[in-house]
Amino acid sequence: MAMTEEQAEVKRQTKRILNRFSSKRGNLVPILQKVQGKLGYLPREAMLEIAEFLGIPAIDVYSVVTFYNQFRLNPPGKHSLRVCLGTACHMKGGYITLDAWKRRLGIERGQTTPDREFDLDIVACVGCCVMAPVTVVDDKPQGKVEPTKVDGILLSFKLEKERQGGESQ
């Protein structure tokens, strides 16, 4: 099977990162973190490349990737949304906020919208319990995100996109 341009690029990027590591099994998690940091997720080609480098079966790499919450198998959206479901957030309605995101975006947690604009996931606690319920929007924790604020955040992204669209024309 011929490799697509994207797959070849993934292989190239992965190799470049692997050059900085020794082929010790203990380096598996740090390698995965670096590769995901670069590519945004862990595609099949990257995992195969890593397995070959460490001299371990590919299934072992896959098992580690699927075990830890940090790693993802599908490409992220342009904007990441992480709904905090720590205890304080949950008690203040984090689950209601999560429902609101799901309803508006039409996706479940762990998924990306078909236009790759947003991805939605949960996080177990970002330690900002005072501002519950929290949603981490593009790595910035936002406090008191209730269903109306969900709509507000989505609207601001939409406006920004329109503005950028207008500028580029």
Partner: protein, 637 residues
Amino acid sequence: MKTTGLQSVVSTFGEVKSRAESQWQELRNSGKPVIMVGAGTCGRAAGALEVLRAIKDELKKQKLDCSVVEVGCMGHCYAEPLVIISKPGYPSIGYGHVNPVIAERLIREFILGDNLCLEFVLGALEQNDLIPSLSDFPRARFDKKVILKNCGHIDPEQINHYIANGGYAALVKALQMPPEAIISEVGRSGLRGRGGAGFPTGQKWENCRSALGRPKYVICNGDEGDPGAFMDRAILESDPHSVLEGMIIAGYAIGARYGYIYVRAEYPLAVHRVQVALRQARKLSLLGRNILGSDFSFDIRLFQGSGAFVCGEETALIASLEGEPGTPHHRPPYPATNGLYGKPTLVNNVKTLAYIRHIIENGAGWFASTGMERSKGTAVFALAGKVVNTGLAEVPMGTTLRQVVFDVGSGMQKGKRFKAVQIGGPSGGCLPESALDLPIDFDSLSHAGAMMGSGGMIVLDEDDCMVEIARYFLEFTQRESCGKCTFCRLGTKQMLEVLDEITKGKGRIEDIDMLGQLAEDIKAGSLCGLGKTAPNPVLSTLRHFRDEYEAHIKEGRCPALMCRDLIAYYIIPEKCERSCDACVGTCTTEAISTNKKRIKVIDQEKCVKCGTCLTSCPPQYQAVVRVSPPSEVPASK
């Protein structure tokens, strides 16, 4: 160790320390005002970085020369973002809830002028005649800051701030002691592991020192995965060197050459600050080959945890360091003899290690003079939930829960009634009002059905459903179970299904006994702490709040009006104001319509019970109410 080596340690450190002290003196006594901004993760989430930028911009605009320092978390999380201003001639003053506009005013009016801006003052940091100080707060009676002392008062990215405040002196002292003497000092202090289980630290060190096998490792467990706990994060962000110093001393005591500091990748700021701290310590020869010219070498690597709650368990943590999925192993053999790569390994929690320098410097007797018979020293809590003053608190062991909630935390928000306090996260339990006079220590809490855990404390009020919180924690442990032990993997799933049914009003009365039975089996049949403690939230709520379970099952009613399947929102027609449209506009699912009499009505079919209408209904009407069971809603005419 050879005497020449020792002399070199003392003299090398003497130089390092005098340089650090002169830098610190320059900051504190140069006659320039010092502005400190609390920029831990919680401060940043509240907008500390915007405040920092506003301060710098305004100083530039006004052409003022001030030292601006980014510090960690002071523990007053409720008042974030927090700014401390030390202006010569005035006491150091803490300002709370600062936003960029207030920050600009503080610069113009306090730094430039002499207006203290009393309306934004939280309190002074020292006693004075001008304004009340933080030590006059009710919580100050209970505060005893040991490992949180530096937090919020030094720049965590400046090793010199740490050294000038007494840092690394304990390491120098330790290097002059025989390792056995250090271990016996730690042992006599009565320090117990702060990760939750409370194993005597001195004994763990002893076991590791006497274990055969080389090399030995020291691991700092910073995989703080409990939802609702953020003490370790705050320490790593605000005072990372105190943890490193503890690790180096531990390494010297047990005869290790390498250490790992394991920090959750979800704590990017903590990761960054530990990296900076490691770099700075190496540069000053406090870490690495021949520390301070002695013949002791020790180096520390940072490892980022990838987000698995079970990795807080030491054998699982070691597995993940080795590049395996983080599944726990059977103990014994304990990591102290067979740990990382099968070698003797010391695993200690962040807080445990942070205490070490204080014990070495002040002696075992000093540490043991605080606390209870079998739990010495202080306890650090992350106080959150429905309490007025959320934040970090460090109190002596033996302080009662009531003092923590009502004095340190200043009581309940919005005047609501206290219902329970959840301690120890998913491994802990909910304690009711009757347990409030329990002194906090390792043993009394586990006796009451909770657990010290790592120190998360969440206060719950009358609006919180106890069945729902038990279900929440079980959902968490069920999701995080690594799947190795059948009872933990499948048992928690069964319990969760039963609890799901109960919160939906479909429970059966015999379910309560079944939950108890399953809980016992899971505890007996699980290998590690996750499974052994997973049923605790259910058991403790069953023990103290059985009536709530029964209300859900027998009457289909949620007494706290929280479980969504058992409540309905209803607009009382008599109270609804004809000219107001607030709820219609905010309803996220367009479930509210206006009838012929201009009264608003909720379509129960469309309603998703998000509660937005309840918050949007203006307080003078209070027309929206929650009712349980949903059948309480009168049929519409």
